[in-house]
Amino acid sequence: MTLLSPSMRTSLRLLKKNKVSAGATAVLGAVLFVAVFGAALAPYNPGQVGVGPTTAAPSPAHLLGTDDLGRDVFSRILAGTRASVAVGLSAAMITTLIGVLVGATAGYFGGTIDDVLMRITEIFQVIPRFFLAVLMVAFFGANLLNIIFAIAILSWPETARIVRSEFLSLRSRQFVSAARIAGASTATLIFLEILPNALGPVVVNATLQVGQAMILEAGLSYLGLADRNQVSLGLMLFEAQQFLRSAWWMSLFPGAVITLVVLSLNLLGDSLNDLIDPRRRGR
């Protein structure tokens, strides 16, 4: 390495980063494929009890073993990935939507509106969100919709702050003034002029939010607040807890899938960030 000039070092590092982000993208592509077509790929019905012996170790017939009720762990992981990814994606989407609306309003209008919205955002940031999510799901019922809603309603403050700071720096740029003089409406200015220029950090944040939402869902499910009609990776870990001694595969594989997906999302988010903000490169 010492023979290389600093600029060559930087490009080498970038190349390596590209390899990492290519790997992450490949993993995420595969996960998305499983989430959409997993049901067709599953060798067994994921909910069917007794397709094999109970708590059987991984074997050619049951690649990742069977659980305490004789269900096929591999098939359940395929189905569980779908639910976990669905929760992650929809929660991140709603989070981003709320965050963009609040952040754009605060950043664009400034003044009292900004003050009020930011005080509310700060209060939401202080509230311990995992505990409130548990309370909401426990009170309103553990189904996928409530879980998604609870996660989304507690995760938006970060997005709002990012969008607000982008809007604050963009709103006084010349292209915005030009559009305003040309007679663009406030909505046009916010959504068609400023927002497209603020999209980079929003996309990075949304990527990370998907992973965060998946971890939150797993945590809620692990505490017994899962949708029992819908196998998710978190629910599988909840069920595994009682059988750690006799069936380690019930815990190892679902958790590994969560970790792999979240890891890929984080790595992808990092490389996207480098792409948008070259000053951060190489850190």
Binding site: R119, V126, F139, Y222, L223, L225, Q241
Partner: protein, 321 residues
Amino acid sequence: MLSYFARRVWQGFLVIVVIICLNFFLIHAAPGDPVNALIGTMAPTPEYMEQVRREYGLDEPLLWQFLRYAARMAQFDFGESLRFRQPVIDIILARLPATLLLMGTALVLSSTVGIVLAAAAAKFRDSWVDRVLTTTSIVGFAMPAFWLGQLMLIVFALNLNWLPAQGMYSLRAPSDGFGRVLDILRHLILPALTYSVYHLALIYRLTRVKMHEALAQDYIIAARARGVAEHRVVYVHALRNAILPVVTIIGLNFGFMLAGSVLVETVFAWPGLGRLFYEAISARDYPVLMGIFTLVSGMVVIANILTDMLYAVIDPRVVYG
């Protein structure tokens, strides 16, 4: 500066008010009779339901109910646990020490190890040490803590039999003296390690970035020019400035840490606040759930304010407007 803290305390007060409103909202907006939210799903006698209704004033106007509820909360009266038939606050306080022991141990462990490793990684930047540590920290960051706990349990407790799997004490261990301390320590190792991994990764990553920033500063060049030994430059001059943000991270992540303790305590049946929270979920013990949520929120508010004050004390450059 005083006005800044006055504003922070005011904001903390607002958060508490919001929390109380949220609790009140949950009791009343949840499907079904609010009485059920307070006494659970077991079939109560009509007299008992009437008693709860009167006690909470559920037959009075909503605003009046809210004011009464807020007044009770302000006196740390979180009601009575449905499962234990005892005041919620007493149950919570009884469980708090176990959680503080676990969190404290894990915090000391993750901060010291994280800072030392980050300083080493910064000194040997781009070496294999740096790369291995950084890659590991990225993976540690992505893992659900409770899954890591399950794996540790499987390997070290159930298969190798090195450490106990569940709880805080063994039944057969001595009940006092040195033997008891040793017994608790043995039970503490696995949960504390599990709990540390995420924070270790977090503190490592943050300190590493801050170290790189610090090492590029003028005072480092000045120190080197004066002929200060390289290890002193890294471990004293740069590190002293790089660990300041760690204080903030610990303080501002307090709520997140308590959430982590719920999951880790559940894996290892550690008899703390988190385990109580888990048990209250399965028992539908709503007063306990809301009591813990309120108390945790209060702790987070206080932790945030203390962090700010501490930061101003240890870094004289900080000026609050």
